[in-house]
């Protein structure tokens, strides 16, 4: 993470050109003087593009069976998630002021039973994609063909073997209403030679690998599914610093 990219991301978040509510002050509010890791900033661009331009879900439709689902599998990337949800008014911004407090609904990992708009409780890596596959199957079994299921993971999270159970099954069964998003900050200890996307495409997924800071490129990639196969978007961001 360079200072320049961080500044650019924060500036965009602070003053969206289209009149959207700014995320940056909310992120600062939840930060409350703490030092955030780069992972918070590496995820916020994707979250903003998803919630502003892609997902068909709003505070009034959090229980609508035909809503799009966003499943945050890497639950530690939570500060930006809370800020984006608060900016979109899924819950009051006041909640940001007491993260982790005894009466708070906002933990260091999100809990769907406590936070409106949160689709899964996560924190232990490798659970979101399996839940996403089940959600996509459940929607298909009920003839709900409009909603789409998006699952956000990290490249290091792909180390967990449970992901590979889900990737192969979704690909070989043409689970067309599923999109995986991999934030690739090159943090997997043993790496993914050839890139994370190859782990998906070998099983029949379509894939797009894009600059994780470029909102237009992210938007194109996140809406680039072909309707027949599951789709993966690899969002490449600055490598994690040790």
């Amino acid at each position: 993470m360079t200072a320049t990219t961080t500044t650019t991301a924060i500036a965009e978040a602070a003053a969206p050109l289209d009149g959207r509510p700014p995320v940056a002050p909310l992120l600062e509010r939840i930060r409350a003087g703490r030092e955030f890791g780069a992972n918070v900033y590496s995820t916020i661009d994707v979250l903003q593009v998803l919630y502003h331009r892609v997902l068909r879900v709003h505070p009034t439709t959090v229980d609508d069976p035909d809503r799009d689902r966003f499943l945050l599998s890497k639950g530690h990337a939570v500060a930006g998630y809370y800020a984006v949800l608060a900016a979109a008014e899924f819950f009051p911004a006041d909640w940001l002021d007491d993260q982790g407090g005894p009466a708070s609904r906002l933990g260091e990992h999100p809990d769907r039973m406590l936070v409106p708009g949160v689709e899964i409780g996560s924190g232990s890596l490798g659970h979101g994609l399996g839940l996403g596959v089940g959600t996509a199957l459940g929607l298909r079994a009920q003839g709900r063909l409009e909603p789409r299921v998006y699952v956000l993971l990290g490249d290091a999270e792909l180390d967990e073997g449970s992901n590979h159970e889900a990737i192969t099954y979704a690909g070989t069964n043409s689970l067309a209403n599923l999109t995986a998003i991999v934030i690739d900050n090159a943090s997997a200890t043993h790496g993914w030679p050839g890139g994370p996307a190859a782990r998906f495409t070998v099983d029949g997924w379509t894939a797009a690998t894009v600059d994780g800071r470029d909102h237009d490129a992210l938007h194109t990639a996140l809406t680039g599914h072909d309707g027949n196969r599951p789709h993966v978007v690899v969002a490449v961001v600055d490598p994690k610093e040790d």
């Binding site: 659970h127 399996g130 089940g134 959600t135 996509a136 199957l137 459940g138 889900a166 099954y169």
Partner: protein, 296 residues
């Protein structure tokens, strides 16, 4: 028991469009007709137990009622964190149905022994556990579990009593030795061995096929000073429940069941019942040792 499970589940899938079945290859051949009729609700994920439970959680989040089935050690032990997180933590629920109870298939060795399954489920909150003692008990227990909203574990076995006993999970007295007599609670397929072992002894024998929630009210009604648990899974699994239910009374508890030690022996289920002291002679010896002061 497995055949009854297959028939009942096939009927449930046809009758209720909320019902779904998730498999990991085990028993998949038996569900081919159901899969042909309901390809979107009979889902065999292959030999992927983590995904099997994750899929069940996702299905439940969309409003379906998943039945999840495979061999007991792979269903409960291998995918334990998925049970904890992909079901309970999400506020989602499912009906788990296992085959391969304890030492149902001892010739397969340790990998296919699962005496700890009920103990593991018992670390979770709010689950119902059904341990049928006869194939005739399976269908009503499965239908009840699927009709409920909460999670349940249905533990099928190749071991069985001679006759089915119905009931709603409350303790059923099958032999009454009168007030104050030692109370033997036999769970599921242990009943016949327990009644045979204790036929001439002044002990009351009660049966349940629903160890969770345990019928603590029935226990308090029937229990004197001595309580003997006979469980077809890990010895002591229900000790904490009995102790808590009788905390306000002086009592003694003997908990019989499958031992923790890995025996590293093959043989038959009867052999293992003998080695774990769960055959009639072993049960008689243990119970006599425990209650003999009272009998004298």
């Amino acid at each position: 028991m497995r055949d009854t499970f297959v028939d009942t589940t096939t009927a449930l899938l046809a009758d209720d469009p909320r019902t779904a079945l998730v498999l990991a290859d085990i028993s998949a051949g038996l569900f081919v007709p159901a899969a042909d009729r309901h390809p979107d609700r009979v889902l065999n994920v292959g030999i992927r137990e983590q995904l099997m439970v994750g899929v069940a959680g996702g299905l439940a989040l969309t409003g379906l009622r998943p039945i999840v089935h495979t061999y007991a050690p792979f269903l409960v032990e291998r995918a334990y964190e998925q049970l904890k997180l992909d079901l309970d933590h999400q506020g989602a629920s499912a009906v788990l149905v296992s085959v391969g109870a304890s030492y149902d298939r001892p010739e397969a060795g340790r990998t296919h022994l699962s005496p700890a399954d009920v103990s593991l489920i018992d670390t979770l909150h709010g689950w119902t556990v059904h341990v049928p003692g006869h194939p005739g008990e399976v269908a009503p227990l499965l239908r009840t579990a699927v009709a409920a909203e909460t999670s349940a574990y249905l533990r099928l076995s190749v071991l069985s009593n001679d006759r089915p006993l119905g009931g709603d999970g409350a303790l059923q007295v099958v032999r009454d030795a009168g007030p104050g007599a030692p109370l033997v609670v036999a769970v599921g397929p242990t009943l016949d061995a327990a009644t045979a072992a204790l036929a001439d002894l002044p002990v009351t024998v009660a049966y349940t096929n629903r160890p969770r929630p345990f019928d603590t009210a029935g226990l308090r009604d029937r229990a004197g000073t001595e309580v003997i648990l006979v469980e077809p899974y890990l010895a002591g699994t229900s000790s904490r429940v009995v102790s808590a239910a009788l905390a306000d009374r002086p009592h003694r508890l003997l908990a019989l069941g499958v031992g923790r030690e890995e025996l590293r022996r093959y043989g038959s289920a009867d052999d293992h019942a003998h080695w774990h002291g769960l055959d009639a002679s072993g049960l008689r010896r243990s119970v006599l040792d425990f209650v003999s002061p009272a009998l004298r």
